[in-house]
């Protein structure tokens, strides 16, 4: 019956609206009571631990840590380079497979992961930025 279908559609729309309102309420509550955080990598050791946790068998021999601790580059004995960046209150890592999209601007190195949704990050590596550009170039384009 058309009337029944209309009533069911209205009920469904109401249910979805209530569920959506509940979701918005919970997210706003999480923001209001300041859940979350501003994580930083506080040391090279912490960066190493994050890298080893992210990829089995990756043992860093060199660390380039952003001065603010928002990310890091790490190189292992096989010449592989890992990029670590923040994601919410956690960190995520990717092995880089080339230097395409990476640029140097004085002490700042813009590193592109090559993965659209992972994006790129600008790292303040200080004087080490030049060294890391060289490492990245060895990966090829």
């Amino acid at each position: 019956m058309p009337g029944d279908i209309t009533a069911e559609a209205q009920t469904a729309a109401l249910e979805l609206a209530v569920a959506l309102a509940a979701i918005i309420f919970l997210v706003v509550l999480a923001m209001a009571i300041r859940l979350g955080g501003d994580p930083r990598i506080r040391s090279e050791d912490e960066a190493r631990r994050l890298a080893e946790t992210s990829l089995a068998g990756f043992h860093p021999v060199e660390v380039g840590l952003d001065r603010a601790g928002i990310g890091a580059l790490l190189r292992d004995g096989q010449g592989r380079i890992m990029l670590i960046r923040r994601h919410g209150v956690h960190f995520v890592a990717r092995l880089l497979d080339g230097h395409a999209g990476s640029r140097l601007n004085q002490n700042f190195l813009i590193v592109a992961s090559g993965e659209r949704r992972f994006g790129s990050i600008t790292l303040d590596l200080g004087a080490k930025a030049q060294v890391w550009v060289s490492h990245l170039r060895r990966l090829g384009a």
Binding site: A12, I23, L26, V27, L29, I33, S54, H87, F118
Partner: protein
């Protein structure tokens, strides 16, 4: 709420109240237990899953009813039938879930439940949109052939799903030993959501942990190994659509790129498998990470 959201709609007010309670606990104890963007993604995945489930329910019920016509007995609605249906459905859940982690086709559907790096009650609602497409339901409907009524199976499946909500929390440490011995608990399920090598691919239970103990996949939570949550290759995005479909996308890309003789393997082998060995499976990760004093692991 029994329209588009089905019986699960009734549980929503309880879910909301418990999430609020856990958030208030987190405020005082562990502010990083929640991240608003992650919470939004998880809850929207939950809402989408309810809609997808409602759309598929009619087809699944029709399939179960059709199969019911070939039953070998008629079990009826006695109290013991409910109990038997629940235990059998939980057994089926164990194998469906285990397959969901060990076969990439099913993993593509299940992965979004694991792709948050958080472990809280909102993670519980982070459910698949593509379970029907993956045909995961075939693991659960066969007991109608024994004579269990399709409606009873759907009801106990719903109870199982609701049971699993409360175990997605860090607020509860460990429960009394008899409970931990029989039931899936927050401690057991934290292990399941962890990416630590000692914890990978363990504790597939729904409501009863006895299946893991029986089939060699049980791993107790260790005081010296704090769980790192998420997936081996963390998603790194809060994008809702990417969270829902990323593994389907990746699997399709692998399938298209692979040599012909390896194409099927990218659908049916374990996640992380690659024909050139360039990626890591659970077994490879374990071999890299095994600690000298780590106890032997079940395979």
């Amino acid at each position: 709420m029994t329209g588009v959201l089905g019986p699960a709609g009734w549980a929503i007010p309880v879910f909301v109240a418990l999430i609020v309670t856990e958030m208030l606990w987190a405020k005082g104890n562990s502010p990083t237990a929640y991240e608003p963007r992650d919470t939004f993604t998880s809850l929207m995945l939950g809402l989408g899953s309810l809609i997808a489930g409602a759309l598929a329910a009619g087809t699944i019920y029709a399939a179960a009813t059709w199969l019911y016509g070939f039953r070998i007995a008629t079990i009826g609605w006695a109290w013991w039938a409910w109990l038997a249906a629940f235990v059998l459905d939980d057994f089926n859940y164990y194998w469906a879930h285990r397959t969901g982690h060990r076969v990439r086709w099913f993993w593509a559907s299940h992965v979004n439940h694991h792709s948050s790096q958080h472990y809280n009650l909102s993670t519980a609602l982070r459910q698949t949109w593509t379970g029907f497409v993956a045909l995961s339901f075939v693991f659960r409907i066969w007991p109608v052939l024994l004579g269990f009524d399709p409606a009873m199976l759907i009801a106990v499946g719903g109870i199982n799903l609701v049971y699993q909500f409360w175990i997605h929390t860090e607020a509860i440490k460990r429960l009394p030993r008899p409970v931990e011995a029989i039931f899936n608990t927050p401690s057991h399920h934290r292990v399941h959501h962890a990416t630590n090598p000692a914890y990978l691919d363990r504790n597939y239970a729904g409501a009863l942990i006895v299946w893991d103990r029986l089939f060699g996949t049980f791993q107790p939570e260790r005081d010296d190994v704090r769980p790192n949550y998420g997936i081996v290759r963390q998603l790194g995005s809060f994008n809702l659509l990417w969270a829902a479909f990323h593994e389907w996308w990746a699997m399709a890309a692998d399938f298209l790129r692979a040599p012909w003789r390896h194409k099927l393997s990218y659908l049916v082998r374990e996640p992380g498998w690659s024909h050139d060995g360039s990626r890591q499976t659970t077994a490879m990760i374990r071999s890299h990470w095994r600690e000298p004093d780590e106890p032997p692991q079940a395979s």
